[in-house]
């Protein structure tokens, strides 16, 4: 295993550094996405400016301040709540976000823990959040929260399948489940014999990419699939009873997971950290930047849809998953398989 | 005025005249009186024909649309302040109990407006007297929308609508007592606070010239 920063240090220290990096990166990415998209892009799409004063430059400090404010707030728990489960639920949600980050490579050697079953692992741990959401909905002892939690469970489970199936095409083409392997495949691949831009898999897996984006949107419970939260119906769904730092956990979970899914999409379909003509040490330094740019691009698409579309109804959502996404995904896998064998 | 006939006075519009003729043909004796209110026909029917009137309006006149049902209390409201006290905050209404167009037999009346969505400017104002037992026939079986209007009238005036499925409080809390729109129900907002217009300019002690009106300039 490569050390993180080309330094020869013991595995214990490495582990500690890795843990710190992951712990730092999840809130950081949540902050960045929250600021760039939730505060700024949404505002401008709605013909407003968003926060302008905090921090001086375009209100960059706003979210940070909000976070600190959340930490200072009183920890309120409903009297009837199942206290232990109630307290544990946000942690479970955030945990699943942390775990996804573990396998996403940000450069040739910059990955917390390369896994041979990286894709499988990432999608598996991302669905852990369902449990947290369900716990939150159940433990809140609130009817809105319960409805929200049950909706979330039904929805996340329904969209787990298309999400996985959408990725299968990529795995089939790249021939590996290792995320680093997939990136390498895309970096070194050739497009009709021309290696100028490598071989980003979106070119052949555009159906998979579209499915992945739709399913990811549902996994993130973002509009048009935000029924578990459904501001105008369930007020805030499973989050309705949460305040202070527990709510902050959900917020970090939401945006951190959005970043993680965007990073997964960027890695699987857009070539991840790879730039085809950059190798070696340069790639070490350029990789995170390239990945970040791609992630922001993917996140822009996600949030663009989020701020534009109304939401479906729960039954319509299920119909879309089972009647459209899954058949299309299966068809895509079949097509990929046939083409893989043919060429 | 109750007994005023529309001679030389206001006239009915063509549509209202048609409504009146049709109502007279259908209801006959049940009509106690009719009058005109700014071109509209006001028909006062016997209390026991109240629901039949609605049915006739809906079936025969094409008045398929219920605008509202409400109550009136013709009793003059008790004065807020004694006469001569200078309190002119509320408009001064006549002190004797008079009734509006088409008359009334007593203090309470229920009235309603029905309209037609199919014929142009076709509508009827219907009134019926409410006796002391405050019982009125309900219209819910004819116009489904009468439900809330009758609940409101029950709450505000205490009218009991026979045949209404559930007379519950509509606006006010369930434990509320009294019927706020009755004229003898006090408006507390106007009683808890003295009228600021009452305070008049007082002359300086020993200043003389009390008779000069303060308001008139040079």
């Amino acid at each position: 295993m490569n050390p993180v920063l080309a330094l020869d240090i013991g595995w214990g220290t490495t582990l500690a550094i890795k843990a710190v990096i992951v712990l730092a990166i999840v809130p950081l990415t949540a902050l960045i996405l929250g600021y760039v998209f939730l505060l700024k892009m949404m505002s401008h799409m709605q013909s407003r400016l968003g926060p302008m004063d905090p921090g001086g430059f375009h209100g960059w400090y706003q979210l940070l301040g909000d976070g600190i404010k959340f930490l200072q707030k009183e920890d309120i728990m409903p009297a009837e709540a199942d206290r232990r489960v109630f307290a544990l639920a946000p942690a479970v949600v955030v945990l699943s976000t942390f775990l996804v980050f573990v396998v996403i490579p940000a450069g040739p050697r910059l990955v917390v823990q390369p896994l041979d079953v990286g894709v499988f692992y990432a999608l598996a741990v991302s669905s852990l959040s369902v449990i947290g959401v369900l716990m939150a909905g159940w433990a809140s002892s609130n009817k809105y929260a319960l409805l929200g939690g049950l909706r979330a469970a039904a929805q996340l489970i329904a969209y787990e399948l298309p999400l996985v199936l959408a990725v299968v095409g990529v795995v089939v083409q790249a021939g590996t489940m290792n995320l680093e392997g997939i990136v390498h495949f895309q970096q070194t691949g050739e497009l009709f014999g021309w290696s100028g831009i490598g071989f980003p898999l979106i070119l052949t897996q555009f159906i998979g990419f579209a499915l992945f984006m739709v399913a990811a949107q549902a996994e993130l419970t973002q509009p048009p699939f935000d029924m578990p939260v459904a501001e105008s119906e369930l007020v805030a769904g499973y989050m309705v009873e949460y305040t202070g730092f527990r709510f902050l956990f959900f917020f970090i979970g939401e945006f951190g997971t959005a970043f993680a899914f965007a990073a997964l999409a960027a890695t699987l379909f857009l070539g991840g950290w790879a730039t085809p003509w950059v190798h070696g040490t340069a790639a070490d330094w350029l990789g995170p930047l390239v990945l970040f740019t791609k992630v922001m691009l993917v996140a822009f698409l996600m949030f663009w849809a989020r701020f534009t579309y109304p939401r479906f109804r729960e039954d319509q959502l299920q119909a879309i998953a089972w009647k459209w996404l899954i058949p299309i995904a299966l068809f895509n896998i079949m097509l990929t398989g046939v083409l893989k064998v043919a060429f | 005025m109750p007994d005023e006939t529309p001679e030389g006075g206001p006239t009915l519009t063509e549509e209202s005249a048609g409504v009146l003729a049709a109502l007279q043909a259908e209801l006959g004796d049940a009509i106690v009186e009719h009058a005109i209110a700014a071109g509209d026909v006001v028909v006062r029917v016997k209390p026991d024909a109240w629901r039949r009137t609605a049915q006739v309006c809906k079936d025969k006149l094409g008045c398929d649309y219920l605008s509202f049902i409400a109550g009136i209390d013709w009793m003059p409201a008790p004065l807020l302040a004694d006469e001569g006290s200078g309190d002119t905050s509320a408009p001064v209404q006549p002190r004797e109990q008079t009734y509006g167009v088409a008359g009334s037999a007593g203090r309470y009346q229920a009235f309603a407006v029905v309209e037609s969505t199919r014929r142009k400017a076709t509508r009827a104002i219907l009134k019926t007297d409410v006796a002391d037992d405050l019982r009125v026939e309900s219209w819910v079986s004819v116009y489904a929308g009468a439900d809330w209007h009758e609940r409101e009238a029950w709450e505000m005036y205490g009218f009991v609508f026979d045949g209404h499925p559930s007379l519950r409080h509509l606006y006010l809390p369930a434990e509320f007592e009294g019927h706020p729109l009755r004229k003898d129900f006090p408006l507390l907002a106007r009683e808890v606070k003295p009228w600021p217009g009452l305070v008049d300019v007082e002359p300086m002690p020993g200043g003389g010239d009390d008779e000069e009106a303060p308001a008139v300039p040079e």
Partner: protein, 398 residues
Amino acid sequence: MTTTDLPEPGKLPDVDVDPSAFRHLADAQVNVELDTGDMVLNIGPQHPATHGTLRLVVRLDGERVIAADPIIGYMHRGYEKLTEFRTYPQITTLINRIDWLSSFANEVPFISAAESLMSIEAPPRAQYIRTILTELSRIATFLLFLGEMGLQVGAITPAFYGFRDREYVLNLIEAVTGGRFHPNFNRIGGLKDDLPWGFIADCRGTMQKVLASCDEFEDLVAGNPIFQARTRSIGIIPAELGAAYGVSGSNLRASGVDWDLRRDGVPYLVYNDLDWKVWTHPDGDSFARYWVRLQETRESARMVLQMLDMLPAGPIMAKVPRIIKVPEGEVFVNTENPLGEMGYYVISKGATGPFRVKIRSASFSNVSILPWLLRGVYIPDIITILAGLYFILGDIDR
């Protein structure tokens, strides 16, 4: 995108919603195999979808409504009682606050009622300005609706567009009347003031903006397949039942009833001089209500543009005694307000104030159909139905 690109009115889209399937499921056993317990959910009085303080107590089987009971009155201010203690000019201030989104339109029927009892007619210029301002408040109300409906269905952005575009119209109203929300601009016999210099030019520009933003709403909301999936076949009001409930205005026109008091009622203001059209939609569902209001916003903008060209010169006040005493009599005046039929039954006994005023407000009757309408729908549909009916709490509770 033009209107023709929208689905044919009357033709149900290929969404997997069969209205007959759940319309009266309330009467049937909903879940045969697994007998689930009912849950009573209390929506409101403080809930994002209730525009204020409407409260709905719904009995649910899963997410399906078995019975719904709207509870109103959290904002009841007793205006009918208050009017008995006030003079006519003072009442205008109060009735501004019944339907606060289109306050100017509220004033018109009351002032007309008083004018009718006093046999006064406002001069033509005043009538035109009244009509212009009434239509402006209609546009302001509907623009908010067009955005708000998007919000209730889950899209945040249209709401901001609604507020933004409404502000242009409110600025016009404020420039004329001095009040964005509560103009208090009508006087018995005319208006408080004439139009300020530059109003006509400003108004023309704003109407173009309104037409443009209607196109935007069509692209962003009405044309969106998700929005259509959420609103089509949801909350169908049959025409006869709607009329019997007293549902009025755009809600009734969306059920295919070609009835607009501006055209079909007792003539008022200057609508008969204008060239305009009453929009109807045969479906009667939430989408139809959205569509009708969208068209009516455009129609109103066109009417305002016409009136700006036709505005006659002259005084804006008729001769009116200094102290207003309204002669004895009764009159019922109803007008087509943005939310539906707004009517005042004024009984005068010759004093400076009325003896009794019955306020017939549109939202009250529009909402009274809810117990019928909500049976058998899902929770998300409650919200679209509420949003589609478009009520103002002040207009329900008075």
